[in-house]
């Protein structure tokens, strides 16, 4: 088999450069000693220190992490059930219901949830509304990952368990669960990342007093663009980077799951 030629390598390197140069600029300028951040003035870590004492930012971070943990946990549970159901019990409508939130543009989900919370539930927008919204779009991702994992497994082991008289719960607990555990971990991490990162849907359903990091960054981009934005961006990048690396160790297929 012929190895990829020079042209392919050159084009690929250009693509990688395209991907990384903008982010490198963001990271670099987080150390810029200039409020306007238009030109490079000098090196400083003061923006990171300012970040640590920025109450609003820290609260937004705490909210983001709290919501992400909780929504990922619930979404993983519900998504695993959905994945199992889609694999085993071929209801025609199930994939549609589970996968459409994944395929829909986020703005439609945001708008529909806003209308639903306000018109039908008369719910005060806040922690709960954001939590529910995040769970809704994460379920599908977890389901896809779990289903993919199940699809790659040998069915005979389940049949053997049934023939030997194991109850469905026992089969699940002793056989299925351990086998799909990597998918669950990957799903959890994926949901966590999606929740921390979400902007559009949160934008529509967030209320007073509960800001998430993306919303805080958005308001900073519009109102007060100092290198502090770069600093929080860099830290956020480091966090989600770590999570994705861990996720890919558990389930390399998670990266292909969307295909």
């Amino acid at each position: 088999m012929r190895k990829p030629g020079f042209a392919i390598w050159a084009a690929s390197l250009a693509a990688y450069a395209f991907l990384y140069v903008p982010l490198a600029v963001v990271v670099l300028f987080s150390f810029n000693d200039s409020v306007l951040n238009a030109q490079w003035v000098g090196f400083t870590t003061s923006w990171y220190r300012k970040l640590m004492s920025d109450g609003d930012m820290l609260r937004a971070a705490a909210n983001s992490i709290g919501i992400a943990l909780l929504s990922a946990a619930i979404a993983t549970a519900l998504g695993t059930m959905a994945g199992l159901a889609m694999h085993r019990h071929k209801f025609r409508w199930l994939p549609f219901l589970v996968l459409t939130p994944v395929a829909m543009p986020e703005i439609l989900l945001g708008v529909s949830l806003l209308l639903f919370f306000r018109q039908v539930l008369d719910l005060t927008l806040g922690f709960a509304s954001i939590l529910i919204a995040h769970i809704t779009f994460s379920i599908g991702f977890v389901a896809i990952i779990v289903r993919a994992r199940l699809a790659g497994m040998d069915e005979s082991i389940f049949e053997a368990a049934r023939d030997l008289g194991a109850s469905p719960w026992r089969t699940f607990r002793r056989i299925t669960l351990p086998l799909i555990l990597p998918a669950l971990v990957a799903g959890f991490l994926m949901s966590f990342t999606l929740s921390i990162d979400d902007f559009v849907i949160t934008f529509f359903v967030a209320g007073v007093g509960v800001t998430t990091l993306p919303l805080q960054i958005y308001s900073m981009i519009k109102v007060a663009v100092t290198p502090e934005v770069n600093a929080i961006s860099t830290l956020l990048m480091a966090l989600t980077l770590t999570l994705i690396v861990i996720a890919s160790r558990f389930a390399p297929d998670v990266l292909k799951a969307k295909a």
Binding site: L36, L58, R59, A62, G66, L114, V208, G209, T211, V223
Partner: protein, 350 residues
């Protein structure tokens, strides 16, 4: 780090009671003023920002509950009062209320100041890069600068306008010589066509990013609020940029905005809200809004504390001749509002 967050959450919940939720314009309250208040009341102020009355009203309509204080402009105050969204003031808690200048008392939008206390005033005008415009030999005292192609072609892609239906259309109406409260739909249509003709030359619609864009030099002309232009000028100076930012009220007239503090019904700490309002009514604190923010002042006791160079700024403290040409926006009836908002959608799309 996790421990830190946990502690923060704990501290946050314990002190959740002593938080004042303020929904304010961006760039409308100086940090030092805020700190001084937090010291005085031993409480925390949580600010959220908006850059347009419509944005604020929309957020409230979409269910934002829990703001103690809002800072709406006159027409928005009227709208909120009609909607029964405001808590009446307890004037016994506002000993410094007498500091308000007589001309701002008993406004048309809130007779007898039952709900609102005036805070500051701004003019919506044109901010510009002084050197660039001089070099291009462009006039800076007229709306023609942002509406006439013969000027615009020299500054194509370097102009931003406010992303606000009321403000942008008002500027067009003023330029055409009409009132901003015009009832004749044909004239609004004329304004729409004027805007659409100029639109291709504009860089973008912006309610807040223009401050930085002007100060950095990406944009040379911006339609915006006087206090924001003041900030852009200070920022450019502080960063040692090789140009200065100027701002002028166009000679055809402009929109004057008087912004007031009001208490929202859903706020949980009306007591803190009253303390804050009274704090801001004290002369020294009120002066900050002119000295640090560059907004017009509604407080008589603040006058001795205002820096002379700011008191002399015609765009911040308009002289009587300019004042005569300034108009305040008033809300329209629902039918007119909807017609205009659909006109605005058309402007955005074409």
């Amino acid at each position: 780090m996790k421990l830190f967050f946990a502690l923060l959450l704990l501290v946050g919940t314990v002190r959740a009671e002593d938080v004042l939720h303020l929904y304010n314009w961006n760039n409308y309250l100086a940090e030092e003023t805020l700190r001084r208040f937090e010291q005085r009341c031993q409480c925390r102020v949580k600010q959220d920002y908006y850059s347009d009355n419509e944005e604020m009203l929309a957020k409230l309509e979409a269910g934002a509950v829990g703001y103690d204080l809002l800072v709406p402009t006159g027409n928005a105050v009227e709208s909120l009062i009609r909607r029964d969204a405001l808590r009446p003031l307890d004037k016994t808690k506002l000993p410094h209320l007498a500091n308000v200048k007589p001309e701002f008392r008993n406004p048309w939008f809130d007779p007898d100041n039952r709900y609102s206390v005036p805070y500051a005033s701004t003019v919506t005008l044109i901010g510009y890069n002084v050197e660039k415009l001089r070099a291009l030999d462009l006039p800076t005292d007229t709306w023609a600068l942002i509406f006439e192609p013969r000027h615009l072609e020299k500054i194509r892609g370097k102009v931003t306008v406010l992303n606000s239906q009321r403000e942008l259309m008002a500027a067009a109406m003023k330029y055409l010589g009409y009132s901003v409260q015009e009832a004749d739909l044909a004239r609004w249509d004329e304004a729409k066509r004027l805007i659409l003709r100029a639109k291709p030359y504009w860089a973008t619609f912006s309610n807040s990013t223009y401050i930085k864009d002007l100060a950095v030099g990406n944009i040379w002309v911006a339609h915006g609020y006087s206090n924001d232009m003041f900030r852009a000028r200070e920022d450019a100076k502080a960063a040692g940029r090789p140009f200065t930012i100027g701002f002028t009220t166009p000679k055809e007239g402009a929109v004057l905005a008087v912004d007031s503090y009001v208490l929202h019904q859903s706020g949980r700490r009306p007591d803190l809200a009253h303390r804050f309002i009274d704090f801001m009514l004290e002369g020294e604190n009120a002066a900050d809004v002119s000295n640090a923010i560059g907004a017009g002042n509604t407080n008589a006791a603040a006058t001795p504390h205002i820096r002379p160079e700011i008191a002399r700024e015609p765009a911040i403290f308009p002289p009587p001749t300019t004042m005569a040409r300034l108009e305040m926006l008033r809300d329209f009836d629902p039918k007119m509002r909807r017609t205009l908002s659909r006109l605005w959608t058309e402007i955005k799309v074409r």
